[in-house]
């Protein structure tokens, strides 16, 4: 598979309702993008060491670390951005202030800024992501072919990505303004796509629909919708009726199972549950289809997630054209 739906995208932002699989999907997408010898970086910004759990690696420092090498020579690197460190970076960049860092930290100043002004924290985090993207423009000696951002959840994503526009209200000119404008330009461009992860349930789907509308209103580029933890319909195609007891009894006899009426009723009950579930999922999928965005599907892995499962998910994303 060599064609992808996102040939121009360098920054893949992955958001979604909490717990739907943002970190997992971001990691699988990074693996998928690392084909043909590409170098991909996946970064997390919530200080939770989610990547090290998914990749089964030791906790990540605030430094780029290679997580895996993919067949074909590709590499996935990881970075856990620490907002406090990022603040010190930023101060250094603009004010040569890193030396004062220790004092500031002891006073609680760094914590102060990163808590009181969540906006400022987001400026730092989005700034870092864009800086990594721009390496490829600046002939940096270790550029990345793609960056995947394990981003804040849908409820906060638009504010997060849009934060640099708020700077414009505060700083009219100067280096901070320039930096903010530069970051916004990348985030709004075709170099960025914001993908949303969901599962086929009412609340996450509603959040996805609301999220797409908000991103759209803020002129941020909406990417694809990833439906995670899909459970395949188990009944033969088009079957949405519970078989009657006699029919089932005959079937079980043919299968070599002598079944009591309790077992028959139980199986019919299970069928009814399953049919209801499939119908509900179909309704939710319809609601997503209306959004008219590319959709990707990942199955629920019944054995739980591990590196092998992650690799399987990466292959599926590639086959479906997400990478």
């Amino acid at each position: 598979m060599s064609t992808t739906d996102w040939p121009d995208v360098q920054l893949h932002v992955v958001s979604g309702k909490g717990g739907t699989g943002k970190t997992t999907v971001a990691s699988a997408l990074a693996l998928a993008l690392a084909r043909d010898g590409r170098r991909v970086l996946v970064m997390e910004v919530e200080g939770r060491q989610g990547l090290s759990q998914v990749f089964e690696s030791p906790p990540l420092p605030y430094a780029e670390r290679r997580l895996v090498t993919v067949s074909g020579g590709g590499e996935v690197w990881g970075l856990a951005v620490d907002p406090e460190e990022a603040l010190l970076d930023y101060l250094e960049l603009f004010y040569n202030l890193r030396r004062a860092g220790g004092v500031l930290r002891r006073m609680g100043a760094v914590e102060f800024v990163t808590t009181i002004a969540p906006g400022l924290r987001d400026v730092l985090l989005t700034g870092k992501a864009v800086e990594l993207v721009r390496r490829s423009d600046k002939k940096h000696d270790t550029p990345y072919d793609a960056i995947v951002l394990d981003a804040p959840p849908t409820g906060r994503i638009t504010r997060f990505l849009n934060v640099n526009t708020e700077i414009a209200g505060v700083a009219k000119v100067g280096p901070i303004r320039q930096q903010a404008d530069g970051v916004m330009a990348v985030l709004r461009s075709a170099r960025t796509a914001v993908h949303l992860v969901t599962i086929l349930e009412e609340m996450p789907v509603q959040e996805t629909i609301d999220g797409v509308a908000e991103l759209h209103d803020s002129a941020l580029p909406v990417g694809g919708i990833v439906i995670n933890m899909m459970r395949p319909p188990l009944l033969p195609e088009g079957n949405c009726e519970v078989p009657d007891a006699a029919q089932l009894d005959a079937g079980l006899a043919a299968a070599g199972l002598t079944a009591t009426s309790t077992v028959i009723e139980a199986l019919r009950g299970e069928a009814a549950d399953h049919i209801a579930r499939v119908a509900l999922e179909a309704t939710e999928r319809e609601r997503l289809a209306v959004l008219d965005r590319p959709m990707y599907e990942l199955p629920y892995l019944p054995g739980g997630m591990d590196l092998t499962g992650l690799q399987e998910m990466a292959v599926m994303l590639r086959e479906q054209g997400m990478a």
Partner: protein, 379 residues
Amino acid sequence: MTFALTAPHLEIDNLLADRATRIIVCCGAGGVGKTTTAAALGLRAADMGRNVCVLTIDPARRLAQAMGLTELDNSPRKVPGVTGGGSLSAMMLDMKRTFDEVVESHSDPARAQAILDNPFYQALSSSFAGTQEYMAMEKLGQLRAEADRDGTWDLIVVDTPPSRSALDFLDAPDRLGTFLDGRFIKILTAPARGAGKGLGKLLGAGFGLFAGVLTKILGTQLLSDLGAFVSAVDTMFGGFRERAEATYSLLKDDGTSFIVVAAPEPDALREASYFVDRLETDQMPLAGLVLNRVQEVRAPELSVERAVAGADRIEDSDPMTSALLRLHADRLRNAERQERLARKFVSAHPEVSVTEVVALPEDVHDLTGLRTVGDLLAD
């Protein structure tokens, strides 16, 4: 009961019927069913004859509609449809409104207005991570005071915010309090408080520079707004911290019971485990664990092996029956996996009572659904 667990059974009806139970707090990781459980408990208690108020945080849209939570006035409304002599009121927390009301009730109108208009206050009241938890506690304190004063309710059931960590509910108020009472915020806002002398010398040049940068980044206006806000709040009720502590102590009250909700999945059970430990450390009363969205098993007598073997045999001749047998095997396997996880929790916390609620095929979005969940909780 679907799982064979050695844990004591959580007797929900005893808890609800006991008049000494005045507050029930439902905690757990996001998406496990806290809101659903809180609403189901409230309705069941009301049907049993108690006068209940349920404080929900973020109900699913259809559930909110079914409970009449469309009126967003940040105060409880009667939910129609309760059977028997009890009553149910429900509300959905409006975090900003709650914060505004705190301000309004603690100062004269002019002062209050000045705070409400303060941009820093506006940012804090609508977006600070932790404000929602803080305001949930605040609202709980208010509802309890109202109940004590007017006898409106004899039971309050509280849902908790959709934090990624269940512990946030206990920690955030203190964090916000500490933060607002913190050293740095005091230093920074000292001029507004009339105690700024000699600061520069004390902190050295680094601070001056830093303050300069801050001013640049945040804007002079924001910093002076911040100063004004902190000093206003200080005189208003002597520090956020004390206030947070007062509400916190309500949670240690004899009439309070915690219910931890978890799905039988690794992440949710890990969170539940942390939470249970924390309650013990803080000497807060845990009623038990609700294992929600458990895979139901019907006819466990038909084993995975036999079902799969049978399905293979009639694969071509009877695809429908074959598929049903595979579906059954699938559910059994899933239930076995969940049961292993639940067992692990129970062996780590053998004293914690447990009740199970099966995963219903559809979302819980009306009173009928809530009653079904209530029956399952009590079963």
